[in-house]
Each structure stands twice: as C-alpha cells, then as structure tokens.
Symmetry: C2
Subunit: 323 residues, 2 copies
C-alpha cells in the first residue's frame, strides 16, 4: 500500500498525517502546539518526532508540506516565517528529500489550503476559486483553470494589505485601513481595546468587559465573536467592521478575477452569523452587478492545509510516473 506523508508548519501549531493513496481518511494523524519560544530548529525537531511516530517503518511515496509563511514553491525554499524566527531561506524541500529520500513539495499555507479545498473540500468540481484564511493574518490562495496560481514570484493572493478604509487605523504594513488591519483576530481585539479604553466614546461593551474581568489585555478575536453573539454593542461594531473590510476586498477580487467561488477559512470565520451575513452582503454590493460568485466556509476546517499537502504529494507522484 502506498502512503503519502503530509506536514503542516503553522505559526502556532504543527501537524502531520499519513494517508493511503486515494483514501479520504487519515491513516494516522498528530497535532502539537509549537512552543511560544520556538525557532525553526525547534519546529523541525518536533516535526521529525511526529513523522517518525507516524511513519513507523513505512516509506511514503511522497511528502507534501504546507508552510505558514512565504515560500518559493519552485525550489521549496522557505523565505521566512512572520511568527517563528530562524526560518529565513531554509531549503525545506531539500532537507526533507535528503532525510527521507522521497519527492517533496512545499508551498505556503494559503495556496496549499486552496488546493486542499478544491480537491477534497468545498471547491470540489469548481474550476476557479479564491481561498482566504482570516485568523492571525489575512491571506489568500488561488485555483485558476483547476490549478494553483502562485504568481510570477509566488506572491499572488495577498488580499490582506489591500486598503479598504484610507482613513482607518495604521497596520504593521505601514498603510491605513487595509483588510488585515480591520479583519484579523488580533487586530479586532486591538480595535475593541481602543474603543473600550477611549474616554471620548461612550460605549457600554459590558458583556465584553465581563468576559475578561475588565482586563482588556485578555481580549481576543474569539471573545469578540462570543460577546457579539450575546449582543454586546462594542463587539458587534468591531466584528461588523471586520466583515465589512473583508467583504469589500472580496468584491474587488470578484471584479478583477471573477472566480466561481470564495472559500473562507481560519478562526475568524467561526465568528457566527452576524459576521457571515455582512461579508456576503458587502461583497455583493461591492462587485459589479454582473459579477456572480458564491462565498462558502471551508469544508475541511483547520485540516485544509494538511489535505492540500496530500494533493501536492499525490500530484508529485503522478508527475513522476508520467516522466
């Protein structure tokens, strides 16, 4: 029986799985948190131990890897991680090929998740789609003509730093009011914190404040979703602004590329109905009336990158068989 090994180096978690070729269920699966002070070496060591425990003495036919950061997919070299130090220019594909002796493909998590959803998830049967992950950051991956579109230098999909509110708050990217600055989980928390701490405004935000015992440093995107679901006014405003920013970005993307479908994944997409309704409404209002599309949640959830890595590995095997 041939198996493929798939690996997911996220910013805060590491996951690995083996699957029988053609199967849609994991044969074995492991997930670990990456320690707070991890560097590239720590993550690689943890991943090695996961791999050995998963593979036992099987040799996989190929390895597919999702990496949470910019990757040169043609060489399989990681450019850097925005979350974990020490990943600059690590030749991850070469490392793994030398260590395990099998063909390995590496790409960034948004591209890989897009492929996973297209092959095994919400995008099955669709020819063109844009997968967007909205969690710590906001990033996207393309499937066009049924295949990943990575861009001339592998940089396609950067919806996060498109400006939707030029008079909005400043992002780490240096610009005001970009999608990520308004829509991501940590920035939602920061926005709520600033509103609650502001003496000029007179918000109540009582539900939100109670959730963190008035310690605003404990605010997270998830708590904002919870408070909004319970009717908190500050949380609702912040969540609606997040959804509005993403909706405007999706509308622009629809006009530019006219994909059949948008698939949204990542922690913020678990925010509930308020958020989803605003995203849908604003995206449709922003796009030209003739431009149609669906916006759906990721079907594979947090495993989208891992399933995409399976697709990467299987494609690599098919390509080698054809040679």
């Amino acid at each position: 029986m041939r198996v493929t090994l798939s690996l997911d180096f996220g910013g805060t978690k590491l996951a690995a799985a083996v699957v029988n070729t053609g199967s849609r269920e994991w044969l074995r699966y492991e997930r670990r948190l990456s320690p707070a002070n991890a560097d590239a070496k720590t993550d690689l060591d943890i991943m090695r131990s996961l791999i050995h425990s998963l593979l036992q003495d099987i040799t996989p036919s190929a390895i597919g890897v999702s990496f949470g950061g910019p990757v040169d997919a043609t060489t399989g070299t990681v450019r850097l991680s925005h979350h974990v130090p020490g990943w600059e220019n690590i030749p991850l594909k070469d490392l793994l090929e030398k260590e395990f002796g099998v063909p390995t493909s590496v790409d960034n998590d948004a591209n890989v998740a897009a492929l996973g959803e297209c092959r095994f998830g919400a995008g099955q049967g669709y020819d063109s789609l844009f997968y967007v992950t909205i969690s710590t950051g906001v990033g996207g991956g393309w499937i066009l003509n049924g295949k990943p579109w990575r861009g001339a230098a592998g940089m396609a999909g950067e919806i996060g730093h498109m400006i939707v509110d030029p008079s909005g708050p400043i992002c780490l990217c240096g610009k005001r009011g970009c999608v990520e600055r308004l829509a991501s989980g940590p920035y939602m928390a920061q926005n709520a914190r600033e509103i609650l701490a502001s003496p000029q405004e007179s918000p109540s935000g009582e539900i939100l404040k109670n959730l963190v015992d008035n310690n605003l440093n404990l605010l997270t995107g998830q708590l904002i979703s919870e408070a909004a679901a319970k009717g908190d006014n500050v949380a609702t405003a912040v969540l609606q602004k997040s959804a509005w920013a993403l909706g405007v970005g999706l509308g622009y993307v629809a006009n530019l590329i006219n994909p059949q479908m948008f698939i949204l994944g990542g922690s913020v997409t678990k925010a509930g109905e308020i958020w989803w309704n605003v995203v849908q409404k604003v995206a449709k209002e922003t796009a030209l009336p003739e431009v149609m599309f669906e916006i759906v949640p990721a079907a594979l959830g947090d495993d989208a990158p891992l399933w995409g890595a399976v697709a990467l590995a299987e494609d690599n095997v098919t390509k080698n068989l054809r040679r």
Copy 2:
C-alpha cells in the same frame, strides 16, 4: 495563401484588416469613425462595407473580433455596448459565421488587446500580464499561464470600478472615487471643469482655460495632458490624481495576482512623463515590497485589439486543425 480577417468594433471607431497567416504586417487595413448617432445596425453596415473592400474575393480562413463592451466569449454573443445602442444580446459570432462561412471568435476589447500585446507586442515571452486600457473608460484583460483568463462568467479584469478614494466624487457606477472616476479621459475633463468653475478654490489654470478659449465644455482628457505638459497647475493636479488612482489599483492587482507585467494602453497613456512617473511610483508604493512587476506602454498602440483579433482567429484555425 491563407489570410485571417480581424475586426475591431470600438465605441467611436471601427477598424478591419486582413493579414497573411504568420505575417506581422497588415495586408490591407481600414479604419472609420462610427457616426455619433450610430446604432448596432449602422456599425454592422459600415463594418460589412469595410470587410468587402478588404477581402475583395478572398475567403479568410478565420475571423477574429474585438468588441468594445461585455461579450460572452464562449458563445460570441455581445451583451451590450456602453457607447452604442442596439447591441443588447447580438449573436455577433453567429451572424459573421453565417455571412462569411468561416470560424469566428469574438471577445471584449481588453481581453483581445491583452492577447495581442502578449503574442505580438510588449508582452512577448511573458507568461502572465494584465493589460489595462485607460481612455473613455478603464478596463483590463488577463493573460495567465500564457492564455487569456476571462473569469467564470467572462467578467474578469474590471479594475475600473475598484474604489481608491472612498471620499472622492461619485461615478456612474454608483460608487465614490473608483479608478475610472478619477483616471478616465472624460472624467479628468469633468474634474478640471469643476475645479475651474468652483468659486471657493483659487486655481489659476490659465493655460488650460486658454486652450479652450474659456469654454470649459470643450475640455478633454487630451487637452488636460497638453496643458499639464506646459505647466498648468490645475491640469497637472487632475492628471496626477488620474495617475495616482490607476497606480493604487495596479498595486492592489499586483498583490492579488502577482503578474510579471502590466501593459497600459488607451488615449490617457499618451499623457506624457508626469502621468507615467506617478503611475509607476504609486503602484510600487502600494504593492508589498516583495511583489515585483514592470509597467510598460502598449507596443501596438491603437492596433492592439486588431492584432489580438488576429491571434484569436489564428488560434481558432489551429484548434480546428487539431480536431
């Protein structure tokens, strides 16, 4: 000798040409203005007379058509023209195939010009590019993986109605400060007119006013370029805003799709160095630092759609031979 016939139905002009297969020079070429009160029938009649004069008694092997408005490229049906009435749902491919008995392909002008520039112009040897025409309107056409990308419903490329200045003036599309509202020729003229007519502002704009003998109704995009080149302050401000709006739009597109190249065509691109410098600078500032691209002028000028129609026709012949 096999020839192809290529047709360009622009909003204000009609052009047709025949070319020997494989040649890069027109065998015969005709261009006419479309009368101000023309409807679809008038344009078709004028085009027929051009065709008969060009073809004499040759039968072309295929016909390629560029149409200045939305087209369903799979059926070759024109959806409408924003400039000429009566084009709603005209099956242009079917009409021409019945009349001339040869395979015909029809697509909108931005897509066709993108193909023309990729095959025969500034984009030769490039695998991914975005062609943008900036004249009466602002529209774009994609080449991705060396082939036209039209979108799920043929609507891809709509950069014109992306908002870059949410507090800007209202466009016919219903939104404020979109690229077309700031960058197109007629809207540049309108913006200059409003500044010059405004009593609160104290612009001089003397050079611009002299060019039209103080009759502001005569202002055009071209006159604004001329006045800016001579140092007129109002014209320079309007032209710079046009270039800024387009530059922001291109920067967003670069982040989203990461094409190798942008090719700019249309009358506004003849505005001179001031305009080009601002477009280049703002696009680079708007894109993420890792996202590289070139921005170059269309090499085929006003003939880009006509040469693209040659490529459409030649591809149609090749496809039929392969069957």
